[in-house]
């Protein structure tokens, strides 16, 4: 099986108590920052022509910036999964940042499911990420 995750949102609008305790601490839950989906979470977009990857903010707030997203073109229609993994690793090294533990994977609608599943399997195999979030899991 190739597993995926849907992120669970924790409602943090509760007011902090005196002393600055947050909801998570009150419930004795350790907030794991690296598993949060935020602006720095890596996003990978799969289109018919190429993979595009970058932090989530590069596809949302900072969409017009051409320097914060990167692409790996397909070779004769076949996605180059090994090259994507290598390029992401080099990008993380160049940016001096650790790859996020979660990745948001957004295929475009016409992509066949076998390609989607194989890409997810390859990302899991590369052991860069703990969780893969398919774009549909974000509403």
């Amino acid at each position: 099986m190739v597993s995926a995750k849907i992120p669970v949102a924790i409602n943090t609008t509760a007011t902090k108590t005196a002393g600055g305790l947050s909801l998570e601490t009150n419930l004795n839950r350790k907030a794991d920052i690296v598993n949060y989906v935020g602006d720095d979470t890596l996003a990978i977009v799969l289109t018919r022509k190429a993979f595009y990857f970058g932090p989530t903010s590069s596809f949302t707030k900072d969409f017009s910036n051409v320097r914060n997203k990167y692409y790996v073109e397909h070779l004769d229609g076949a996605p180059q999964l090994d090259l994507l993994a290598t390029t992401m690793k080099l990008w993380a090294k160049a940016e001096r940042r650790a790859l996020s533990k979660q990745v948001i994977f957004i295929p475009t609608p016409e992509i066949p499911m076998p390609i989607v599943i194989q890409t997810m399997a390859k990302l899991k195999e590369a052991k860069f990420f703990d969780n893969i979030v398919l774009g549909s899991g974000l509403i």
């Binding site: 099986m1 849907i6 669970v8 076949a78 066949p112 499911m113 194989q118 399997a121």
Partner: protein, 207 residues
């Protein structure tokens, strides 16, 4: 009663004719028992493993195996409709080109019932494992991402956060042939004629 030789001959010849004539009813008990076994087997086996009779042509990929359990769903296309068959024999269908969640309301209600049942069991047992709440999707290879997207959205609405795509693995009986088969099946391209991407751009939902 006349037990003379003539009468005996007549009776012997009548018996010979009766034994020679085929008895059609003789096959009936064996056919009945055979049919009984078939019916029992069909019901029992399908009850034990919902994958029997799975119409989805799933991808062949050597993925890591996860513990059995969870909610198994089979998703396959047929006649411009997407069909979903569940682990307990329920069936849901909606048009393949749907772009909203209205046709999936029945499916959503079913999943909500399943989640509610799981929650009750967890409260009584004071335990629930991750495997019990994992949804296993057995997806046909001819489907595209936009066919699966509404299903994943429904999963997130009802509160199921863990799902997985089922794949099948070739057993290495003949290593050379199975390796080549594995390579052929995994080297898929987006523009593979089997995937009909060009057709898809003009008419979504055509298989």
């Amino acid at each position: 009663m006349n037990y003379g030789p003539q009468n005996f001959k007549q009776r012997a010849s009548a018996l010979k004719e009766r034994l020679r004539a085929p008895e059609k009813w003789l096959l009936l008990p064996s056919l009945l028992s055979f049919a009984f076994v078939l019916i029992l087997t069909g019901h029992l086996l399908s009850g034990l493993n919902p994958r029997i009779g799975n119409q989805a042509d799933i991808l062949s990929l050597d993925a890591p195996s996860l513990p059995e359990g969870g909610l198994w769903l089979s998703v396959y296309p047929k006649s411009s409709m997407v069909h979903v068959s569940t682990f307990d024999g329920k069936m849901f269908s909606w048009p393949a080109d749907t772009n909203n969640l209205k046709p999936l309301l029945e499916f959503k209600a079913y999943l909500e019932g399943v989640v509610s049942e799981l929650a009750s069991q967890a409260v009584i047992a004071k335990f629930i494992s991750n495997n019990q709440t994992r949804v296993v999707l057995s997806v046909d290879q001819h489907l595209r991402y936009f066919h699966i997207r509404p299903i994943i959205q429904v999963l997130s609405i009802v509160g199921l956060d863990s799902y997985a795509f089922e794949t099948k693995v070739f057993k290495s009986v003949d290593v050379a042939s199975s390796q080549s088969q594995g390579e052929q099946s995994s080297d898929k391209t987006i523009d593979d004629p089997k995937n009909n991407v060009e057709d898809q751009s003009t008419d979504e939902g055509v298989f």
